[in-house]
């Protein structure tokens, strides 16, 4: 590098001034230029990186680095920086400066190593970080190999490449970023993945493809995330030789670095690069498993295609209804145009706009997510997605007839109360009157020892739940202007006095009181007892209910608990566990213990019935909370779109009658349909069943304070 280049570099990073405090800038520069090229670059990369956290430290590093690099090999050099950064983060600037100064005393073999970085410690951070980067929502888990299947990032269970914690931590982040970037920047576009699978690439060719894609992706990261690229550059390579080797490849593959190049371009370059020796993988680079990607991708494509079509069918129905026309049968393709907004390169993001018949449509967050996920597979919406879906009506009618002839309802007509409910048919956009028959049962109680075990198992959690719920009551502050209360409200007294002096009627709202047991909330818990809850989910539901009851007893809110399941439109069932007026006693505990999986989930009917019960109670705030593990489904045509639309309609009916609805689910594909059913702010997805008991109490508190 020339002197002037380094001058520019110093000025650009604003470390020029600080450097002057340690030495003549020209002297330092000439020391740097005396080093070989790779070393110069390494020092500049690191100075730049450190300058983002602290300019003074960067200047001092720049000052010390030439001398240090002459005394140390690459590994020691990086370890020395690692120590410095660790000290800076943990102990502050002064300690970090000392670490820099003492480079002569530094030697890798003599130091006591910090523990390596564990996946469990960084997993939550990585999860947030990757979500924040955008694109498709990815799971992050640890695995033997490091790779991605475009739905999940698989990372090592620990990283200990560097002797101190700080760089290992950064390396975790970079590894996750790099895998994320493969999906985001189209390494696994459907067209490319298909080619890779069909051509059965040899190991060697795949290795080349992996290197080429690394170059292309890193360049995209450089455009969009300069900060990450700085770190890629500074700590990606094992040693100076590897650095040099990658640089050669980078120059040879220059064409891949241009904006707009795709994985397809890398694919076509593979053969050209077979003759060159492979550079070692970057520290942050993972392996590639084409088959795993293909499998996950095909499953996702099917799912998203169906969802896309149903979403857009709905959009169109709404639009048509707004215009007041008959639902038309034109193919969707004439109506929809998808525009990817990247007129502004610096802000490039997957922001997508949908235009229907020339007007911009408002799409929800979840629809936006869906489209951006499809875009990551296809770089657009494939044409066949935008074809109208045909739902054969005759087929549906046929099915429902079979069902209603199957009359088993006479068996125990007398032993149970019978209720009739209508159901919403979205295809015909009208109700099927009295289509569903529902019966109420009492649950067969089990031994209450389950309750005691749960209380013991969650002893610690229970304590904290009790405390927070008590806090809910405590935090309710002083209420002014009460008819009666603990103390006198001075403001009110003065006002009343003034009113009285003026000859006005004397009203006695002059006390203050701490508000409690005045919440006026009635809540109905509707618990999914469908067959799919068998096992863990069922247990978690029961445990949640036990904890919840303890919490609700503290708040004094009125609550009822019902299970629901059934099979067929004439076989809907709800199971009484606790009614509003019932006290929480051993009987209730036994019934909670007795919750067992039954058959299907005809959600709409259950909602209508339990909502009806809720409306019979008097409370200012009525809340219907569903605990469920999946989408509405029954053995007849109550599936997919039909079930979802009926449930949505039932929820809307509840809303209109003044009931708030909320759903807690453990179905991780719930993003597909829950926002549509419940509205954006009215549901929560819990990613692990084990967390259900804690979360349910937590959510309830948030909902009602």
């Amino acid at each position: 590098m020339r002197d002037a280049t380094i001058q520019d570099f110093l000025n650009f990073n604003l470390i020029h001034k600080d450097l002057e405090r340690y030495a003549q800038v020209d002297d330092v520069i000439s020391e740097i230029t005396a080093l070989d090229r790779e070393q110069q670059r390494l020092i500049c990369d690191w100075s730049e990186l450190i300058a983002c956290s602290n300019r003074e430290l960067a200047a001092y590093f720049f000052f010390m680095a030439p001398n240090a690099s002459r005394h140390m090999d690459h590994q020691n050099f990086i370890a020395w920086i690692d120590l410095t950064i660790t000290k800076f983060k943990k102990l502050g600037l002064d300690e970090a400066m000392v670490a820099l100064k003492d480079f002569c005393k530094f030697s890798l073999s003599s130091i006591e190593c910090y523990p390596s970085c564990q996946f469990d410690d960084v997993c939550r951070f990585l999860h947030y970080f990757v979500r924040g980067l955008g694109g498709r929502e990815m799971r992050v888990i640890s695995d033997q190999s490091t790779f991605t299947d475009t739905g999940t990032l698989f990372l090592p269970s620990s990283i200990d490449l560097f002797p101190f914690a700080e760089l290992n931590y950064t390396l975790y982040k970079l590894t996750a970023t790099h895998l994320w970037a493969q999906t985001r920047y189209g390494t696994w576009r459907y067209s490319v993945t298909k080619k890779l699978v069909e051509n059965c690439l040899t190991e060697e060719k795949l290795a080349v493809f992996n290197r080429l894609e690394c170059l292309r992706i890193d360049e995209s990261v450089r455009r969009d995330f300069p900060g990450l690229y700085r770190e890629f550059k500074a700590l990606g390579d094992k040693d100076l030789a590897a650095r040099e080797h990658w640089l050669q490849w980078r120059e040879r593959a220059g064409i891949l670095l241009e904006p707009g190049k795709t994985a397809e371009d890398s694919f076509f370059l593979i053969d050209d690069f077979m003759e060159f020796s492979l550079p070692p993988l970057k520290y942050y680079q993972g392996e590639m498993f084409v088959d795993k990607v293909y499998e996950v991708m095909r499953e996702r494509i099917d799912r998203e295609k169906t969802r896309f079509q149903s979403e857009w069918q709905t959009l169109r129905v709404h639009k048509d209804a707004a215009v007041g026309e008959e639902a038309r049968q034109d193919p969707l393709e004439e109506l929809i145009e998808v525009i990817k907004s990247d007129e502004n390169k610096e802000l490039s993001d997957l922001n997508i706009q949908i235009t229907m018949e020339g007007a911009v449509s408002n799409i929800s967050d979840s629809q936006q997510r869906l489209i951006s996920s499809i875009f990551q597979d296809f770089d657009g919406i494939p044409e066949e997605y935008i074809k109208s879906i045909e739902i054969s009506r005759s087929h549906q009618e046929e099915q429902s007839q079979i069902k209603s002839s199957n009359n088993s309802q006479d068996q125990d007509l007398n032993s149970h109360k019978l209720f009739k409910y209508h159901e919403w048919d979205f295809i015909q956009q009208r109700f099927r009157k009295d289509f569903c028959t529902l019966r109420e049962f009492l649950i067969i109680p089990d031994d209450e020892s389950f309750v005691h075990e749960t209380l013991k198992k969650y002893g610690g959690l229970l304590k904290s739940i009790r405390k927070t719920f008590a806090g809910v009551l405590g935090e309710t502050r002083l209420m002014r202007r009460q008819m009666d209360g603990d103390d006198i409200d001075l403001d009110a007294i003065i006002e009343t006095y003034a009113d009285a002096a003026h000859g006005l009627e004397n009203r006695e709202y002059i006390y203050t009181r701490y508000r409690n047991h005045n919440r006026n909330v009635a809540v109905m818990f509707m618990v999914d007892m469908s067959g799919s809850t068998l096992g863990w989910v069922n247990k978690a539901e029961r445990e949640s209910l036990v904890l919840l009851c303890e919490a609700l007893e503290i708040l004094g809110d009125r609550y009822a608990i019902f299970g629901f399941s059934g099979s067929g439109n004439n076989g809907c069932e709800v199971y009484r566990i606790k009614e509003f007026e019932q006290v929480y006693d051993q009987q209730v505990q036994r019934r909670i213990s007795g919750i067992r999986p039954k058959s299907y989930t005809r959600m709409g009917t259950a909602i209508r019935h339990l909502g009806h019960l809720l409306n019979l109670t008097h409370a200012r705030n009525k809340l219907l909370i569903t605990l469920s593990d999946g989408r509405p489904e029954d053995c007849d045509n109550y599936k997919g779109r039909y079930g979802i639309e009926d449930t949505r309609h039932a929820l809307m009916e509840m809303k209109q009658s003044g009931i708030h609805t909320f759903c807690i689910t453990i179905d991780n594909q719930a993003q597909d349909y829950l926002p549509h059913m419940y509205g954006e702010a009215n549901y929560t997805v819990i990613d692990e069943v084990q967390k259900l008991p804690q979360k349910v109490a937590d959510i309830y508190r948030r909902l009602t304070t």
């Binding site: 983002c52 979500r131 403001d491 003034a498 009602t704």
Partner: protein
């Protein structure tokens, strides 16, 4: 108990408040104003609702009265009360009453926070009667044509106790506000703080990153207001990452992992 002071002065806004129009909200509001319809501004905090109403007050050349609602706000706080001065009682108008008398624009910020009984006084102001009942004076004060009631509401809260009642919300013309799109938000940050284009771009990017975390560890993403605060610090010479840590991350959460994630996201764009 000390009470927050309530602004009752009728102030005209002389200088044009900077406001970047997002859609056709200016036209809609003006039309609602001409038609004497009350307006509801929906949207998350810090997305420009207050700025918009200031701008409209300036545009329509009416004084603006703003009341930040809290859960102790009573009807008398809005309408007025008798006080005693030298042994005599004097009536003091509340902010709402004085806004009605003066034909001002009255802005009730975060209306759901107020005590439920306050909604009663606004109901009769919101239908075609346009009357403010002042019970203690035994008076029904008709609102002049110039008067306009505007309320704001954040639908993002999950609490059912803080939901706006149908009987209230159905009286209003509702304007939905959201964070401006990336381009506009960049322009707003630039104009508000005179920072460099690049800084504004990067902040917008960070903003949209945090908004992706909403419901996933964060209750809300970073508002335009927070991004503007960060831009101000940066223009003042604070390192970008330090600025976003203090102005954005710490303002959004206390969770260590989340703070760390936002810190690293910020480092990745700067």
């Amino acid at each position: 108990m000390a009470k927050p002071e309530i602004q009752t002065k009728q102030s005209f806004i002389i200088e044009e408040p900077y406001y970047e129009s997002i859609a056709d909200e200016i036209a809609v509001f003006s039309s609602a104003y001409r038609n004497r319809l009350p307006v509801l501004l929906k949207g998350p905090t810090g997305c420009g609702k207050t700025r918009f109403i200031e701008h409209m007050a300036w545009r329509l050349k009416r004084p603006l009265v703003t009341v930040a609602c809290h859960d102790d706000l009573t009807t008398s706080d809005l309408v007025g009360r008798y006080l005693i001065k030298n042994g005599e009682t004097v009536w003091i108008d509340g902010p709402l009453t004085s806004a009605v008398r003066n034909g001002s624009i009255c802005y009730l910020d975060e209306i759901v926070e107020a005590r439920k009984d306050t909604s009663v006084v606004i109901h009769s102001l919101c239908d075609n009667r346009r009357l403010l009942p002042i019970e203690k004076l035994g008076e029904l004060l008709p609102a002049p044509a110039e008067f306009c009631l505007t309320i704001s509401y954040n639908p993002g809260y999950q609490s059912v106790l803080k939901d706006l009642k149908q009987s209230t919300r159905q009286r209003f013309i509702a304007l939905e506000f959201n964070y401006p799109n990336t381009n506009l938000e960049r322009i707003i940050i630039e104009k508000e703080t005179n920072c460099e284009i690049n800084t504004a771009c990067q902040l917008v990017k960070l903003g949209s990153m945090t908004r992706k975390l909403k419901g996933n560890g964060l209750e809300e993403g970073a508002s335009t207001r927070l991004l503007i605060n960060a831009a101000k610090l940066i223009s003042d010479g604070i390192l970008p990452v330090v600025a976003t840590d203090t102005a954005v991350a710490q303002a959004l959460t206390d969770d260590t992992e989340m703070l760390e994630a936002i810190h690293e996201l910020s480092r990745s764009v700067f």
